[in-house]
């Protein structure tokens, strides 16, 4: 079946969140895919998660890569997307200024958020939020609610309304705390002289990337065969290897971890938890 599939031609339209694209991982995956399917041309469209999903619903994508379970859920339940697969994950990280006025370094993420809230309330710190309904933004809101606090409307709570790169620049400028996906952070690290990662571990920081084929029964014009082939490739051994090794050479550590079929089911349950809370 594989060898037959290599015979396909046509165009595959992939909309993806910027965090995957801007790190360069997707180009690598596309390259690998192209070696297998030389007659297929891949169009990678990098936009915010919200826009990526909306574009898929408009019929302008065959495959969506996303890391916003709460948004994905909506499109899954109305049938726009076929049930997807988790193909990669990494961790969100809480960044803050070097002097760490909230003293969160090494803390558990939920306690850290509570400590940030306290420090901010007492005027010693700021927090910059993406405030754009992205996956990262959804996760941040979950963390606040797990910490039992509500930052909305507080004067220290800076709602940047921007993508990750821009938000990191704002946080850096304001020497503020913020939440980031690790991929964008590592790519941007050299620009962020005022920030350092303070909390990088913890269940609730897990960031799962899923791949979905757009449902051809709901959205006309979807190239399902190619979409499935691409999904298959991303989940295959070759694809997973690309994910695992990406960035090691350049940055010294991998940007993403391969899901490798999620044998323990933790990723799936993390996804479900996020989808529920968001």
């Amino acid at each position: 079946y594989h060898y037959q599939a290599g015979y396909y031609g046509g165009t595959l339209r992939v909309t993806t969140t910027t965090s995957l694209y801007n790190t360069g991982l997707l180009e690598k995956l596309a390259e690998g895919f192209r070696q297998k399917y030389p007659r297929v041309s891949i169009q990678l469209i990098a936009v915010g998660s919200g826009e990526a999903l909306r574009r898929a619903a408009q019929g302008d994508a065959d495959v969506v890569l996303s890391h916003a379970p709460n948004l994905e859920k909506k499109y899954l339940s109305d049938g726009t997307l076929k049930p997807g697969k988790i193909f990669a994950y990494n961790y969100f990280i809480i960044l803050g200024p070097h002097d760490d006025p909230a003293g969160i370094s090494g803390m558990d993420p939920v306690n850290a958020m509570a400590a940030i809230y306290k420090a901010c309330e007492s005027g010693r710190a700021l927090f910059v939020s993406r405030a754009d309904n992205s996956g990262t933004n959804a996760r941040e809101l979950i963390l606040w609610s797990l910490a039992g606090v509500d930052p909305s409307g507080r004067p220290w709570y800076v709602e940047a309304g921007a993508d990750m790169a821009q938000t990191l620049m704002v946080a850096n400028e304001k020497k503020a705390y913020t939440l980031s996906d690790v991929g964008t952070y590592l790519k941007f690290r050299k620009r962020l002289d005022a920030l350092e990662p303070l909390v990088e571990k913890g269940e609730v920081l897990i960031n799962v990337y899923s791949i979905y084929t757009v449902n051809p029964e709901k959205v006309p014009g979807v190239n399902e065969k190619l979409a499935d082939a691409f999904t298959e490739f991303v989940l295959s051994e070759d694809g997973q290897k690309i994910i695992e090794s990406y960035g090691v050479e350049e940055l010294g550590e991998p940007l993403f971890r391969a899901a490798n079929g999620d044998p323990a089911g933790e990723l799936k349950s993390a996804w479900e938890a996020m989808a529920r809370i968001g």
Partner: protein, 212 residues
Amino acid sequence: MWQEVSEVVARSLLVSGTATVLAASWSIPTAMFLAEKESAFRRVLLDVSNTLVGVPTVLIGLILYLLLSRSGPLGFFGLLYTPASIVAGEAILITPLIVSLSASVLREKRAEVWEMALSMGATERQASATMVAESLPRLLTAVLLGFNRAIGELGVALMLGGNIKGFTRVMTTAIALEVSRGEFELALTLGGVLLVVVFGITAIVRKVGKAG
């Protein structure tokens, strides 16, 4: 790397050049119509045109996206994510600029030359052509400003083209990508290249306009 840059530069020039030619082909007749006589209707049209000089490019990008999207009314053309859609979007984007500038240029010359042409037996069409010929250097500048605006705009190119490497990536989307990757030096270099190319074209067009 430089091969890729030159490919992207060439694509930018081609896309924006085509868009400019298209836009000029309907903008200058429109400007001629607007400049011809005073009337409330034409004044409102000119106001609309002046307003749209500043229309946000994301907005044009979004509207055209919704039209060209598979589920949109023009979706069956399959233009989305092709250079053609950027051409269309940029042509629409710069139309108000070219119309406004050309109308103001033509309006200046209107009365005198128009009267002279008609009284010498020109048809209205010939008189219009004469007006255009008389204003040629400044019309050329108007069109040039349109081109410069098109090649420097981001929103349309990004929303309609999708910044697909090797296919719809143009200078501005490449610059924006590098910025969001934190590769500021690269972004600045690309910006410098873009400006140098545009400056060259501007200088050549000015020379040609003078000679013509």
